[in-house]
Amino acid sequence: MNDMRHVERTVRVDTTKITARDVQVFYGDTHAIRNVSVDIPDKTVTAFIGPSGCGKSTFLRCLNRMNDTISVARVEGRIEIDGEDIYDRRVDPVQLRAKVGMVFQKPNPFPKSIYDNVAYGPRIHGLARDRADLDGIVEKALRRAALWAEVKDRLSAAGTGLSGGQQQRLCIARAVATSPEVLLMDEPCSALDPIATDQVENLIHELRENYSVVIVTHSMSQASRVSQKTAYFHLGELVEYGETGQIFTNPQDERTENYITGRIG
């Protein structure tokens, strides 16, 4: 934790993007998330940290209803995005996921060309008027993911042929191509080397301009580098939530302090 660049701690926009109240998640008989309430601001990077199995990924997957795809999972409580309850019966989870993009732990490009990977979301949601429009969307997404320069000459090559770091940036490009409002990242750098990690972290900084980014990470130095807000989860509970600088320098809860100073976890 030598690299404590606590950059841009101040939250520029005060509007709240996601509001969670008393969220409970059950996997069958297991109570995975207990009473989590949190307000995630817009145009901010929020980091979820905590030991393995503490429920941070589970909570992340509640935010775009990916837990719906697991038949034994059950979510209670209230989660709102822009004041709208996403677990309301009128909300189509498929539409929701277009608005709340997700990047996974392991790069998972489809076995298609680079172009088709990025164009996947826009095609499904009919975002492009014609081919030229789609080309534009793909280029913009790849540029935003800082991948354009590397792949612009081989857009028809297989996405699976890229290096690990490139694949993860391709997945980020794929997620931003549908112009989501929130981007969820589940340990996006855990399968990457330090150089690729650095590239993805720089990317997260830039994405903050347009999106509300929520990132789950095991690396506390990463959380301190990229995020403005940090939430510490422990055994399914949200222990502490606040400004990243404050969590890392002056934690209020003993459990948070133990984790951050390396005494546990």
Partner: protein, 487 residues
């Protein structure tokens, strides 16, 4: 010496070698098994292997070589002068062998050994042998009987020598192994080599059998093409074999049969591929655990039904139904056996092949692919159509080609469903037939084995083999080429 007696003795020697070698190894380290190089059981196994493997190898080799040697001996004994007029040497030799076997083990064996036949004429012995169940090619003559007696004596002597040699080899092997069984001997490594040898022998038996099948087909096919022109077989559009008695030359063109095979297989695949694939998708992506655990075995039961039962279903149910419901009203024919009948029923038979293989392949697509697609806001069916099926496509193609191989090789359903009339026709409600059915009909019945009408079966079989081999190679190639796309 009886072979069964030799095998029993070998088993006893092997067991004894096991016990002794193990015991000696333990004794050599003063009863402390931890000081042995290998576990005690390896010393025992080493003893058994050393005793049995060389002995069994000798036994097998001997039994392969002995008949060849004896045949050679008979041939040199029987000079050409004793040959009955117009008969070939090979026939006489096999007569000698049969007579010898009849004397050795037939019902006459006891009285023969007692010397009852010393004065009997060859004709009388021959009659008695025939009564005892021995088939003879020609009336028994004195030289043949003499040769048979000679054959019998030599063969008995050789058997005895073989038994003694085999048992001696076993005992020597066991002694060597037991002598070596001491604490520092690496028995475990020897047993490891023995395992490797066993596996290699098994693998080579499978390969050699395939080679043997191909070779026998090749020889008979070459024989056929020496009697029937190559071009007429492949390019003639009529199939009209003429059997002895009917007279006239045969027309043996493969095209109508090939057409029937491909037509029926095509219909079968049109039925089986969509149904099989869709049921696989339903089972792997949508069905709940409980339903899946019932439905998957149920579908797989279809694969366990013997094809003759499918054939009966085609003959009794599907054929008449199609004729009465579709073919007759539309004026497309009034035959209960039709390409459509066989194709439909064969398609039903193939459903479990396609669905079971595709199900495994779809399940092998990583969950990360599904998450990735769903996370972008795709629906389940969009995910399946645009990500999962493309990712699983090589495997699905492989499954379809395997099903096609089965369809091409199928016989019973065709006989009962589509009839046996060779015809080049587009109407799917006409009776047609396939290559496999004709192979059966050419080889069964009372026919001269050396005529083109019979030998054509081998040419048909080889053609079929080449086609299915080609399909299998194509399937393997496709699966290999695209296999690791998602990793």
């Amino acid at each position: 010496m009886q072979v069964s007696f030799i095998l029993l003795s070998l088993a006893a020697i092997g067991a004894l070698a096991f016990v002794t070698a193990r015991h000696r190894a333990i004794a050599s380290v003063g009863g402390d098994a931890r000081r042995l190089h290998s576990l005690p059981i390896y010393y025992g196994l080493n003893g058994s292997i050393m005793a049995l493997v060389p002995a069994l190898a000798l036994l097998v080799a001997w039994m392969l070589v002995q008949p060849l040697f004896l045949d050679g001996a008979i041939r040199s004994d029987l000079s050409d002068s004793v040959l009955p007029e117009g008969s070939a040497m090979g026939l006489v030799v096999s007569d000698v062998r049969r007579v010898a076997e009849g004397l050795e083990s037939g019902p006459l064996a006891q009285s023969f050994i007692a010397g009852d036949f010393a004065d009997a004429t060859p004709e009388e012995v021959g009659r008695m042998l025939v009564r005892g169940g021995t088939a003879l090619g020609a009336p028994l003559t004195r030289p043949v009987l003499d040769a048979a007696m000679e054959y019998r004596t030599t063969s008995r002597t050789l058997r005895w020598i073989m038994g003694i040699a085999v048992l001696a080899v076993a005992v020597i092997g066991a002694a060597v192994a037991i002598h070596r069984s001491e604490g520092s001997y690496r028995a475990r490594n020897v047993v490891e080599t023995g395992m490797l040898g066993l596996l290699m022998v098994s693998a080579s038996i499978a390969i050699l059998t395939t080679l043997g099948i191909v070779m026998s087909m090749l020889f008979e096919t070459a024989n056929f093409f020496s009697q029937y022109p190559f071009t007429r077989f492949f390019f003639n559009t009529t199939w009209q074999p003429s059997f002895s008695g009917r007279g006239g030359a045969s027309e043996l063109g493969i095209l109508p049969l090939l057409w029937g095979t491909l037509y029926i297989s095509l219909i079968a695949l049109i039925v089986a591929v969509p149904i099989g694939l869709f049921s696989a998708i339903y089972l792997s992506e949508y069905a709940g655990r409980a339903f899946r655990s019932v439905a998957k075995p149920t579908i797989e039961i279809l694969a366990g039904i013997p094809t003759i039962v499918y054939g009966l279903f085609a003959l009794i149910t599907v054929g008449p139904l199609l004729r009465d419901a579709i073919a007759s009203p539309l004026g497309l024919g009034n035959s209960a056996s039709s390409v459509m009948t066989a194709g439909l029923v064969m398609g039903i038979m193939l459903i479990p092949f396609v669905s079971s293989l595709s199900d495994d392949i779809i399940n092998a697509v990583p969950q990360a692919m599904r998450d990735g697609s769903l996370g972008l806001g795709a629906t389940k069916s969009e995910t399946i159509r645009m990500v999962i099926v493309p990712a699983a496509l090589p495997g699905i193609v492989g499954a379809v080609l395997l099903a096609a191989s089965r369809a091409i090789g199928e016989t019973m359903i065709v006989v009962l469903g589509a009839g046996a009339a060779a015809r080049l026709d587009l109407n799917p409600f006409e009776a047609m037939t396939t290559v496999t059915v004709k192979i059966v009909s050419q080889l069964t019945g009372d026919t001269d084995f050396n005529s083109p009408e019979t030998l054509v079966a081998f040419a048909l079989g080889l053609t079929l083999f080449v086609i299915t081999l080609g399909l299998n190679v194509l399937a393997l190639f496709i699966v290999r080429k695209y296999r690791e796309q998602y990793e």
